[in-house]
Amino acid sequence: MVISEKPTAAKKIAHALDESGAPQEIKRGKTSYFQCKRGANDLLVVHALGHLYELKQTEKGWKYPRLETEWVPRYEVDKKAKNVKPIISLIKKLSKEAEVFVVATDYDIEGSLIGYLTLKYACRTNPEDAQRMRFSTLTKNELQMAFDEQLGGLDFQMIESGHVRHEIDWLYGINLTRALTLAIKKAAGWFKIVSTGRVQGPTLTFVAERDQEVNVFVPLPYWIIVANGLYQGLELELEYSEKRIERKEKAEAVVADVKGKTATVQNVKKRKISQPALPPFNLSSLQSEAYRHFGFKPSRTLAVAQKLYLDALISYPRTSSEKIPESVDTKSILDSLGKMRNYKSIVQAILDSGKLVPRQGKKSDPAHPAIHPTGEKAERRLSSAEKKVYDLVVRRFLAAFGEDSIRETIRADLQCEEHIFYLRGIKTLKPGWTDFYGEYASREERELPRLTVGNQLQITSVENEEKTTSPPARYNPSSLLKMLERESLGTKATRSGIVDSLKSRGYTLNDRFEMSNLGYAAYETLQRYVPQLLSTEFTRGLEEQMERIQGRERSREQVLTSAKNDLLNLLESFKEREGEIGQALVAGLKRFWKEKEEIGPCPKCGSGTLLIIRSPKTGKRFVGCSNYRETGCDQTYPLPQKGSIQPLDKKCEYCGHPMLRVISRGRSWETCVNWADCPGRQDDLKELERRRKKNDQ
């Protein structure tokens, strides 16, 4: 039995391993598996669906601390994971006939853990006896080689490391979310889920600190000199030697001094810059470049790259490596790419140059090479996003075979009175690899006429322009991801998800990472009462411990025990001050709701917030749940269509729903959001109905 990670991977593997290249797909209800023949072996290729098993607390109760867990089928803890049930049943049934088990999930921490858990809980076999296929692309050749020649045992260090990462993330996520949520419940009686996770604290801190710098920023004025000169009938833009002039008087004096004068060339400097090719992509450089050129969020780039990998078009994308080792057959990849219209001429140029060794970067990865194309042709129409990422990967790969690009910069210094101006030019002498990288390489060109010392230039226009300094740049998804990487927080597989979670949890408002009041409520409270949770050092310390498992320096039990102890201490000190913490969070939430026309927690789903919404179709307003789009919570309440509505910080004495003040036609009254169904307000409703009828007559 060969266990793959996803249905698409199963199909690729089955087609590669079946001798006739035509495996039989056998449907079983909503799932399926493949039967293949390879030599004397009959193979069953089954698939998981990402994780089939998830952690669950062993003690009961939505409380904290909860430190003991067990693995259970994912559908037991995640109602949306119903589709996992038939898959587990099928694997259980088929495994009874299997003699040998081969794990063929993605070769990384997550994939290794998925394989291990499937063996242990679905196949009920000893993972020590199982075999592992190791591959970086889903191409026929590599899969066959991985199966025929390179099978080995499971990588238990990787499994342990993934195992402990899951446990620790679960422990921190579950317990901290409950601690925050229950503190609010005790303080105000609301049930509003405030979720947080292990790496989210430091991430929130980066964003909060930048947000604060932006919010307290006062711009300062400065002046620049904008000047043009005429040389041999050519209008040239001059650059004043002082980039920013701090006083208005001085800027005005420069203009007065040089107006209508001539400037003389004092000096001409030329410099050659030789730039070697950029190294092949790893995940983070791919994400950063895709953001720069296409505006794709890192999580989107990862998802697209993952699809291209499953189609065997590119190699495994979750890699840190910037190297293409000799084991990758670059010649045959180049030959295949050379058959594609877009890349034909580039490949020809590379083959002509005879340099068939790509440039290598510094970073490496024990499990996978740098991201590169396989040379296979797409068997389906790619989406426009997929085409873009694919083209970027191919061109970056091809560029690595290119020679250095050589550029020349020129700076002429001109004197006018006691002022110095510059003329700058830049041109490409030899494009080298930038020709292969195409429009992704920046190749600004600015021509300068031939200038020699003593040449004169007539100043035709000169002005000063007032400017003000800019606040520090906010994070974008790409720069925040880089920050996490630089600080060694999270893994290449989890970082883009952590970045997205700030927005999906309401802590930031948009992709510019402006903090919401909810974000500040959480940040300020944690900073005051449990600062470790926001601390980079604390979180990174744990990351290092987990990495040491993979290097066999520490055992999973040691790391887990110390993480549990730290967490327990944290939770105990949290509990002691639960009242204060709850009050602080509630105060922050109230600010949040006041500002955003938010009414209070949603009584139906618990995690959403009731909002005043205007229907884009009818223009009518009503109260709905903020989770409508994400989880489909369809709780709504009608609202009066006229007058202004203010949320109040209290609850209805009859039904417990949040209260509102309505001000309309000079009258102001209080009611609850549930007024249409509230048992205490039926008389008011009848009265209202009676009055409306009277008005209509």
Partner: protein, 88 residues
């Protein structure tokens, strides 16, 4: 019942957070300090008085939200206190 709510003494006059100094929270206090500090730089750069300075900033791009809130707060004070005056 009155609809006008007055801010309790221990909360920031601008946003209702806990007070750090000068009747303001940590954030608005920092914004005020920056506002006053930058006034010296503006005066060094050009001839400008405190009121014109505040008006100018309200129209300048890049001014922080908390700084704008502080400017609005200063302008709303009817009797000038030390807090709202230019630094000397």
């Amino acid at each position: 019942m009155t609809s006008e709510e007055t801010v309790p003494d221990d909360l920031c006059s601008v946003c209702g957070r806990r007070i750090q100094a000068d009747l303001l929270c940590e954030y608005h206090h920092k914004a005020l300090q920056n506002l006053r500090g930058a006034f010296n730089d503006w005066q060094h750069a050009m001839a400008i008085d405190w009121t014109t300075y505040l008006d100018r900033l309200e129209e300048t791009e890049g001014v922080g939200d908390w700084v704008l809130e502080i400017i609005e707060f200063i302008k709303s004070q009817s009797d000038p206190s030390e807090l709202t005056q230019p630094p000397t």
